[in-house]
């Protein structure tokens, strides 16, 4: 688990949207530019790190219950993406760090990856049973 204001400090992020949401916690992080992979593998209440700046990055985040998106490599999301993130209450940050370094820094500070969550990780139906308990 890691609070978003800690993520911001570790990655030296600019906060683009949701600066009132930085006390929220993420359970896990996922780094990907392919939204297909995000939809297939990301766990709920995650931090998404991506270099894809279009509106689909936020749509995908919303569907997958992502808490916040960090755009890497100094990229800034498109205006439509920021507007949608505000509507869906998803925090948006940007870091100058490349993907590998951003993920690495968060991981060394203790933010887990999806494969480390043991809750029927590859089977969303299994996960649904657990979260219903």
């Amino acid at each position: 688990m890691m609070k978003l204001d800690v993520v911001r400090d570790i990655l030296n992020c600019r906060v683009i949207a949701g600066d009132d949401r930085l006390d929220l916690e993420v359970r896990v992080a996922c780094g990907a530019d392919l939204m297909s992979d995000v939809l297939a593998f990301i766990k709920p209440r995650a931090l998404l790190l991506t270099g894809l700046t279009n509106v689909q990055s936020v749509r995908t985040a919303d569907v997958a219950e992502v808490v916040a998106i960090v755009y890497v490599r100094g990229k800034m999301p498109e205006k439509e993406a920021v507007d949608l993130a505000k509507e869906k209450e998803i925090a948006v940050l940007s870091t100058d760090l490349p993907m590998y370094e951003a993920c690495g820094r968060l991981y060394t500070h203790g933010l887990a990856g999806g494969s480390e969550l043991h809750e029927g990780a590859s089977d969303p139906k299994g996960a649904s049973l657990l979260s219903a308990v």
Binding site: S36, Q56, S128
Partner: protein, 147 residues
């Protein structure tokens, strides 16, 4: 004891239109589905599965078809999403269901899609998944998640 009649009509029905190539609105039909399920208080884990499957199906229409419809039906037993498109159809469904198989163009991949995970991911999130396709006409997906 009288047998209880099983209702034929869903308790809730909603139809959304999807247009091929409309990337600005891509995902809105799935958002509308998610909003309804949230409003009636469905288990969040079920909502997430339905939303992911619906969004994958919606993106397939936007990326590959001319247009389509997404129907949401809710009964006391299940949530069912039906996506029917008018498009090229899928010649080999078994091949299309394999993880990593994709006919996506570079343009689609630049959008963050086309990794060949869509149909397998829909199946993974559904309790029942039926796909039918006629080449030259279109594809219909029926996705059921039990409540």
């Amino acid at each position: 004891m009288k047998a209880r009649a099983i209702p034929r009509e869903p308790l809730f029905f909603q139809r959304s239109e999807i247009f091929g190539g409309d990337f600005v609105n891509a995902g809105k039909a799935s958002s509308a589905v998610k909003a309804v399920l949230k409003e009636i208080g469905i288990n969040p884990a079920v909502i997430r599965r339905v939303a992911i499957a619906a969004y994958e199906a919606e993106m397939n229409v936007v990326l590959y078809a001319r247009k389509g419809i997404m129907d949401l039906r809710i009964t006391p037993q299940h949530v069912r999403i039906t996506v029917k498109d008018e498009g090229f159809g899928i010649p080999d469904i078994e091949l299309a269901m394999q993880e990593g198989y994709s006919t996506a163009s570079d343009e689609i991949r630049e959008m963050g899609f086309g990794a060949g995970m869509g149909l397998p991911n829909i199946k993974k999130n559904a309790d029942e998944f039926i796909i039918t396709s006629v080449v030259g006409r279109g594809t219909t997906l029926e996705i059921t998640v039990r409540l």
